[in-house]
Structures are given as structure tokens and as C-alpha cells.
Amino acid sequence: MESPKDRAQRGIAYQIPRNTLALLMVAQAVVILPYLLHLSPWLIAVGLFCGFWRTRVYQGIWDYPSRAVKALLVVASIAGISLTGIKSFSLEAVSSLLILAFALKLIEMKSRRDAYLVIFLSYFVIAITFLFDQSILVALYELGAIIVVTAALIGLNQLHSQVRPLVSLKLAGALVLQALPFAVVLFVLFPRISPLWSVPLPNSATTGIGDSVTPGDIAALTRSDRLAFRVIFDGAVPRYKDLYWRGLVYSEFDRGTWRVGPELPVPRAADPLPDAAETIRYSVLLEPTFSNWLFAIDRASSDTRSVRKTRDFRLEADDPVLSVFRYQVSSNPQAALDAGSLPAYLRARETSIDLTSNPRAAAYAQALWQETGTAALFTSALLQTIREQEYYYTLRPPPYPSPASIDQFWFDARAGFCSHYAGAFVYMMRAVGIPARMVGGYQGGEFNALTGHMVVRQYDAHAWAEIWLPEQGWQRVDPTAAVAPQRIEQGLSAALSLEDRSSLSLFTNARLGDWVLAGSMLQLLDSIELRWNLWVIGFDSNVQNGVLSSLLGDLTPLRIGIAMALGGGISLGLVAIVLFWRRRSLPQHPVERMFSAFALRLAGHGYPRAPEESPAGYVYRVAHQVGLNDAQIGGLVAELNTLLYNPGVAWGNAELKALKRQLRRLQFRLAFGSSR
């Protein structure tokens, strides 16, 4: 038996219908659009050039590029990508290559197979968008993009003359919307597995606090209103000035930069957290940081799987946070850290300092220590100096080149940001042998009254100090509170001069918050985005377990399987009902029905209709058998053919009745012989 493929090869080569091609090109444009900001300009130029070429081919003005031209384009583009300096195997490189393949495929797309390749690539590129941005607006846009791509896929399977882009779009919309319910079922029920292997990360995404701080870094962060994380408190929201979101501990200082030290082993029995009345419970929805560190109020512990405690009382995730990550925290602000004794290796680490790098600050600290004598007095003397002498809090301090950056800040310019103050404070503490370290994280946040959650943005980034006192253990000291108490009590914008505020970009909440209406609009958007993060983006295995346990009880594979089958049955069953419901079998063509009945009656008289016989042929044959000639029944046959096969002729009951009479007469004749 000949396969359909052989027939396809024998037939005329498939040409992509023009309407389908137009739809395909629109789909490609829609898919590439979100990448425009991420791509290097020359790649965009290549894409536009290919699109232009294809349009010319489409119009019949240009021809397809020759093999040599195509090869040249490919080689030049790959060379271009490697020259642009994109890290190989990074997400940018992969997406650039994909987009490039996409554009180049455009100019050689001829066969149906090419078109399928482009469409599948489109679906892939849509998915990759979500590695960069998973916000609700992007999601809605990409849902639309999936519909457009699906419409192009439909166009490939239509008869040329029946490709109507708008109709295809409508059908694609219906298909995708009908597919959504089961997709949701799968989304909720499909088990989330932990990553199988480590993957290249987008290197453009490393905003936020890093594992090293050079004073000035954090000032740059304040120009960003990007979301850092959201917090939902179980009970009352703590006071604003207590919202110190501790994330990183910087123990090493070298040439003006504070760094996170090597990781320390965690003691086996990390002392349990006493459950006290003042324990704060909350969950955090952390935006992707592409790092392991998590932010929490001291002293934190978490029930969430894949969250661990570190030796310096921070929380860390087992895997880098690539997508919104939700974790539960209980914090006890009263609990002491390392109270009583500090292991020798830790004491060595937290007091090590190079006194020669900033000799003035070192000498100043040692002189002050001579005066005060105790750590408590020394600390308050330093803070008093900051408070009472002419120190300024500003986002735009003069540059302080290393290594003597602290000297220049403390003695000369006296203007700086939180990390300047914290850095100088820790340096001077260590200079007199008090264990001290810099801590990075966020301070404060913005309360959203609509949902009752807290939003922490990049401009809430903050640095402060911790010193170790034998009785109390590690104590938080925030020198910024001495120079700009408003920063700690009301947030950044309250602490800034008018001049500094104007340097913030227009759309940061810090500025928009000045207008009430805009502020509440932003709150509404934020509430929507929070729910999106809570239930969609942040839906990981932890959240899933919680949700499913409350729905199904014990989570056995069998129960999940049954739930999935049930969900699938219901959601697809609904689609089937929509598709098959209204269908009744079409009553056969009335003339056809009449003729079948006629043939059946004649068969009873001994004149069966042969399978290959057309109605006309049948009538002729039987008529001849009783001696009627062509002329006598020609009228009947003509009328029969008209009513059966000519859809253009309008006819009604009168014609039908006339035909019926004639057929009756013929039947009569056949039944009783030709004598009459």
C-alpha cells in the first residue's frame, strides 16, 4: 500500500500559503518583541534585515538568499555573538543564538517543515522570556503570543483558499483558553522536583546586595525601585525601626571593600530558638537573587524545607533563588547571638584588621579607647561624635579612593551613606580589639494597606554594624541612626535632602508616594502582583505540599494520580461537551432522501440500484428496461440532477412535490410493466 508520504512526494511541492506566512511573521515579531531590550542592537539589525528580505520575497521582488549568502550570514552572526563578549553558555548567549536562528530561518523558510521548526522555536523562545521576567504583565503578553503562534500553526493545516488570519486567531484563542483549565490542574498537581543539574544563569540579573560592599555600592542601589521581597506577617507588623532584614555578614576588609568571609561550619546542635511571646512569624516572597542568601529579622529560624541556618545566624537557601522563593520565618528579636563566649577562631576572624591602611582612623580609635575604657562607652562616644559633629547623610558623597578611604571619610569630607558610617564604625571597633562586623540587608519597607503586606525594594538596601559584647553576644549598632534618624524611622525619602530626592528616577515609589492617588494605584498593582507571586510564581514544592495536603490529606502518588485524572477528565470533558453538544445528525438532503426511498421501493420490484450507479444512470437503466426512451424521461433526469447537485438553483416544496410525482409515476410503470 502506498503511504501518504509517497503521495505527497508525487504531488506538487507544498508552498506555505501567503496568509499563513504573514501570520508566521507577525508571530515571530510578537515573540521577539520582549527581547528587544536584552539584545545587542546589531542582533536586532540582523533580525530586521531578515524580516525585510522575507517581506521582499513575499512580495515577489527578491529571491531567496543563495546558499553562500546564508552561510556568510550564519558565520558572521556567530562571530558577532562571540565578539560582543557575551559569556559563552550564559543565558544571554543562548537566547541570542535562539533569536538569531529564528531570524535566519525566516529568510529560508519554504517548506512546511521549516515553518513547523519556526513555530516550535517560537514556543521555546516564549518560555525563555520567563527566565528573565515572570511578572503578571509579561505573562499576559506571552499568553497572547502563544495564541498568535498557535494561529500560525493552524494556518499551516488549512486549505490555501481557507486561510483567514482572523478566523485562525479566533480558533487559536478558543483552543488555548480551553486548554487553560487542565493546564491549571497540571500546574497545581504536577510534582515539583529539585533541579537535576546546575544551569547557566542570567548574568545581567545580579542586582541587589552582593557578597562584597564597597561604600557607594548601596548608594547606587537606592536609585532602583526594583522589588527585593514582600513580607506577609501573621500577626501585627513590628515597628518600622525594628525592621532590619539581615541578609549578609561581611567579615573581611581589604582595600576599601568589605567581603563575606569563607563559610564557617555550623555547630551540630544549633541551639533551639526559645518560643517567646515576642516571636514574629511571617513569610517572605523573595524575588530572584540568583544567590543563596535569604533575608530575615534576627534571630531567625525557618520551617521551610531547603532553608538552612548558618554560623552567623543568617538563613540560606540550598539552591540559588532563580524564581520567586517563598519561605516561612519565625524571628525572636530578644534571642541572643553567641552570648557568653565567642570561639577563638571567630574572635580572630571578627577582629582582624590592617591598621596601616587607615592610620588616622586607627590612631583616633585607640586614643578614644584610652579615654572610655569599656566597649559600651566607646560605642556611645563614637555615635555621639557622629550625631553631634558635622556629619552628613547623602546619596552622593565625594569619591573616597582606597586604601585610606575611611580616613578621608571620617576626617575630611564627613559626608556619606549608611555603608560609609557602618564601615568606619566597624573599622574603629576592630582597631581596639572589639569583635565587630558589617551586616548588609534591607531596612524598613513600605506597608501596603490593601493586602496588609510589606514591600521591600532595592532602595531600602542598608548596611549596619554588629559588635560582640561578652554578656549580650552580638549586638546591632546602626551608626546611620545617629546621623539620619529619619532613615531608620520613616525610610529613605524622609532622610534625603530635596536635592538627593530629585536624583531618584521619577517612577520610584519614593517619589510617586508624594501623590496620594498615584500611591494608591501603585498599592493596588502591588497587591495584584503579590497574589500573582504567592500563588503562581512562588508556587514551589513547599507551597505545593501545603496546598495539596490541605486538599487531599496524605500525599500518596495514588491520590495525586487520581486527582490529576479527575481534574483532566472534568476539564477536558467540558471541552468535549462544548464541541459535541449541539450536534445533531444533519437530515439528509431532502431530494436525496426521496430518491433513496424511491430506489428502495424499486429494489422491491426487482430493480436494485447498482453501487456505482448515479441517480441519473439508475433512472435511465430502469426506464429503458420497461421500454421508455431517453426523450420520455430526460426531463425527470434533468430535474433530478439539478435538485441534487446544483446548489445555485433555488427550489422549494413545489419542485419537490413535482419531482416526487414523476418518480411515483415511473415506479408505477415499473411495478406493472410497460403496458400502460
Binding site: 500500500m1 503511504s3 501518504p4 508520504k5 505527497a8 508525487r10 504531488g11 512546511r112 513547523y116 516550535f120 514556543y123 521555546f124 518560555a127 525563555i128 520567563f130 527566565l131 505573562a139 506571552e142 498557535t150 500553526l153 493552524i154 499551516l156 493545516n157 486549505l159 483552543l175 488555548v176 486548554a179 487553560l180 487542565f182 493546564a183 497540571l186 500546574f187 504536577f190 515539583r192 533541579p195 537535576l196 543539574w197 546546575s198 544551569v199 532563580l322 524564581s323 503562581v536 510564581i537 512562588g538 483532566g568 476539564s571 471541552v575 468535549a576 464541541l579 450536534r583 445528525s585 444533519l586 439528509q588 438532503h589 453501487p611 456505482e612 448515479s614 431517453d630 441534487l644 446548489p647
Partner: protein, 326 residues
Amino acid sequence: MSSVDGETFPERIIGGRFSEWLDRRVPPSEQITLNQRNLFIFPTRTGFVFAGLLLLLLLGAVNYQASLVYGVAFLLGSLFLVTILYTFRNLSGLQLELVGTRPGFVDEDLEFMVRVVRPQGSGREGIQLGWPAGIMQWAELLDREADTVRLYVRAMDRGYLRPGRLLVETYFPLGLLRAWTWVDLNARALVYPKPIFQDFPRARQGPRDEGELMDPFGSEDFRDIKSYQPGDPVKHIIWRSYARSDEVMVKQYASFIEPRLWLDLDEVSGPLEERLSRLTGLALQATRLEREFGLRLNQLKIPPGSGDSHLETVLRELALYGISER
């Protein structure tokens, strides 16, 4: 134009068993309504590639822990399932009926007219039908409820051509799945022998005095005596009579054209098929010349006649000579 990519699963795998099973499952019938009893559905190669893409997306979602990549994978997977319903629905409920065939000669394309009627409601598109030996044709059912598709099959031998089971298939809407069926519409069309045309034979001289006078000089049958006229052949002069009277009489010979041509299998030469072909050619020529003719095939005798329906009867006998199927 034809299919997206051509699996004939499961035919290819199951082979001959399949057709036996099919005969039980989808029995031959002049009219058939497609439903879950006789429709098959299976992913196409493109469908499998699509499934591979989904797997890749799922892998990416796992490794990047990106919820919305999971979302895309699930949405496309669900789309695939919904498409099963759509592709199946596209054929389901269609009524197929063989409404006519046009007989033809060997080496010609025979026409079969298959009427496809869809149920009321939404239009169907992307439906193709065809016999394995022919070219697939589209049924246009988007804007109308019925379409008569003309299918052509090349005739190889005289007798009945049975093109076998008709393939009805669709890849609509996404090309990821193929729904199809093989229906047996009991289609058969008569194939006449391939005509061989030759010089139309001189009519045989018949013994009876009917018909037109033929060549008055060339024959030997005596007909009449008439008085001599200049130009009459001298050898026809009856000399004895001339001796008795002055009148010169001539014998008149004549034969008459047998106007009703008999096409006789025994009177043409060559192997059987060639003889049938010659008779076919003669019958066609005679009809074109509007001559009456009869047919003699051994015992079978069709009395002389003319006209299209007579020709059809004659051709039918020629086509089916020695073939038991009627």
C-alpha cells in the same frame, strides 16, 4: 498536495491482519457515518516532535525552578490534549456516500463522486480523501454543509475497478495529530477495453435485398434484366436475347449493403484482449457514424441498435467478457 507527514500507523505495523480486522470493524457500505467506531487518531511525527519540545521545556522549568516555564509546558501539553478532541471532531459525524461513478477505458482516469455531508453547526476544514492509488482531494466543508468530491483513479485492466478502501484523513487544527479512517463504499466502476481504432471495415455483402444498393457493377448476385444503356459493361449483355430480338438486354447484378454491422469476436484477429480492443474501437466508430451495429461474443448476441445506451450495453459486455463478476 497531500499530508503533513505520512504515517499510516497502525496499518504499516499490523499489515494484512489490519485489513481483516478493518472489514469487521468498518464493514463495506455505500453510505457511512464517521464516528468513534470507525475513526482512528494518533500523533503525527510533528506531534512527537512537539512532545519532545514539551519535555525539554519541563526540563528547563525543573532546572531553573521557573513556575511560568512549567506553566508554558503544561499549557502546551493541555493544548495537545484539547487538539485530540478537535481533530477527532473534525471527522466525526461526517457522512460519506458514493453518489456516482463514470466508467472509462483502460489507461484512463475513472471518476468517482463521493458526497461528504457534515453535521450542522461549525464548519469543518482540512479534510482530505483519496484512494491509495489516487491523489488526495480536499473536501470543502467550511462554509457549506455538503461537498461532492471528484476522485480519479487510473484504470489498469478491463472489468470492474474496485479502488478498495477510501482514506479519509485530517490533520486539522494543529497538525500534531492525524485522525483517519478507511471506509469501504463498495465503490466499483466499469473499465472498458482500451479501444484500438482501425480502418472502418467495408460492409459485408448481405444476402437479403434490403438496404441500399451497393456498387452496381462489382457484384455477382443476379438481380434483374434491363435494357442496355451506354456504359453498361459489355460482358453483362445477354447475347442470346439479342439474337432473338433487336433489343439489347443486359443482366443486372447487384448486392446490397448489410446496414446492420455485426461486431463479431471471431472475425477479428489477434489475442483475446486485442480482439476486444478492436471491437471496442469499432463500436465507438460505428456510434460516431450513427450506424446500427450488433455484437456477437460467442453465444452472446446483442441485436443491432444504435445510440448511447446501446453503446453502453455493448461496451459493458466487452468489458466483462470472460469475467464472472457482474
